[in-house]
Symmetry: C2
Subunit: 205 residues, 2 copies
């Protein structure tokens, strides 16, 4: 009996990562179809996983949401995003990747909205603040590379420009989801790229 239990437990442990990944996949499908659930219990009920089982993997709704986002996000540049890719292009490519995952932008909007509530979603707030810092630092480095190469005006503050590019990309994806016929993320970001072209020996414009 003790042996059986140990064996069962061993089997559960071996299966845990796979089961966790299944839960994350079903959660993002749910978010795309029905929106982000308001509690861990409600999310469990909707994806057919018991509250206890869900709690085994995720201590709270916020932990689950952050885990789902981490699993699927395309917002952080890929290793292939070389230094000579412009800040605007990096965000545009990530917007392109996001578009392929229904529910991801809704989840991202929920996480950033939750993060605004200082005392109610500490895990979400830490995650989103840290993510913005990382994204801005990467974009600012690309702006500085452009300035070193002479393609971007030297009097533009790279950190201010980085916040602008991240903001424009987030806001445009949201407007596009609401009115796909009226908004074109690519074309609007291309306007911003006039100011912030990629680094390179030649001026882009």
């Amino acid at each position: 009996m003790a042996n059986d239990q140990a064996e069962e437990r061993g089997r559960s442990y071996r299966k845990a990562p796979e089961r966790r990944a299944q839960i994350l996949l079903r959660a993002i499908e749910l978010f795309a179809e029905q929106g982000v659930g308001s509690s861990l219990r409600a999310i469990g009920a909707a994806i057919g996983v018991s509250h206890a089982a869900l709690r085994y993997y995720f201590a709270s709704r916020d932990e689950l949401l952050v885990a789902v986002y981490r699993e699927h996000e395309g917002m952080v540049h890929e290793p292939s995003d070389a230094a000579d890719v412009s800040a605007v292009s990096v965000m545009e490519k990530s917007a392109e990747r996001n578009r392929a995952i229904p529910g991801l932008v809704e989840l991202y909007a929920t996480l950033t909205t939750d993060a605004l509530q200082e005392h109610h979603h500490p895990i979400t707030r830490d995650f989103i603040q840290e993510r913005f810092r990382r994204v801005r630092a990467d974009l600012a480095e690309r702006v500085r590379a452009g300035q070193r190469s002479g393609s971007i005006a030297a009097d533009i503050d790279a950190d201010d420009a980085a916040a602008l590019v991240a903001a424009a990309s987030d806001g445009l994806q949201l407007q596009w989801l609401l009115s796909p016929d009226d908004v074109d993320v690519h074309r609007s970001l291309a306007i911003l790229e006039r100011l912030l072209p990629p680094a390179g020996p030649a001026l882009m414009r």
Copy 2:
């Protein structure tokens, strides 16, 4: 008795707009302190208004949220925003006004996040879609005025630029709320204004 009832009802009707305004004010205070409530019942409990009384004024949580936002929003330009004020400046002034109303940006983020859920928040979605259309149309007109006066490059599409300015302003306010020390809405928007200066006889740059 019937007279009393009629009189009481008459008094209620006379008081209704005032009572409704009180509820809207207490709701936005609540949103600033504790976040946007998840149901009409929860919001009523938090602001000390019975569910029945709340239902007298607002048919649903979404109706209440939209009404609170309408009551307090500063996102739409003031009548004093003359045509020669740049698109970027209009959004910057509205960001400035928003900052004075704690809870408003949280409420706006909640409304736009809810609006992404096509089938679950129809009233919110209609309101937010219509608001974006109105804001973009106003901003596009300012870009066209800049192009007519020669201050903005003629080959920039005014509608694409309008979406860009609205997106940048929304996204920057959100990043600023999360990291006030790292993000400066004014400075980042000023970078965008290099491309999209106000209309005027003289070139701004």
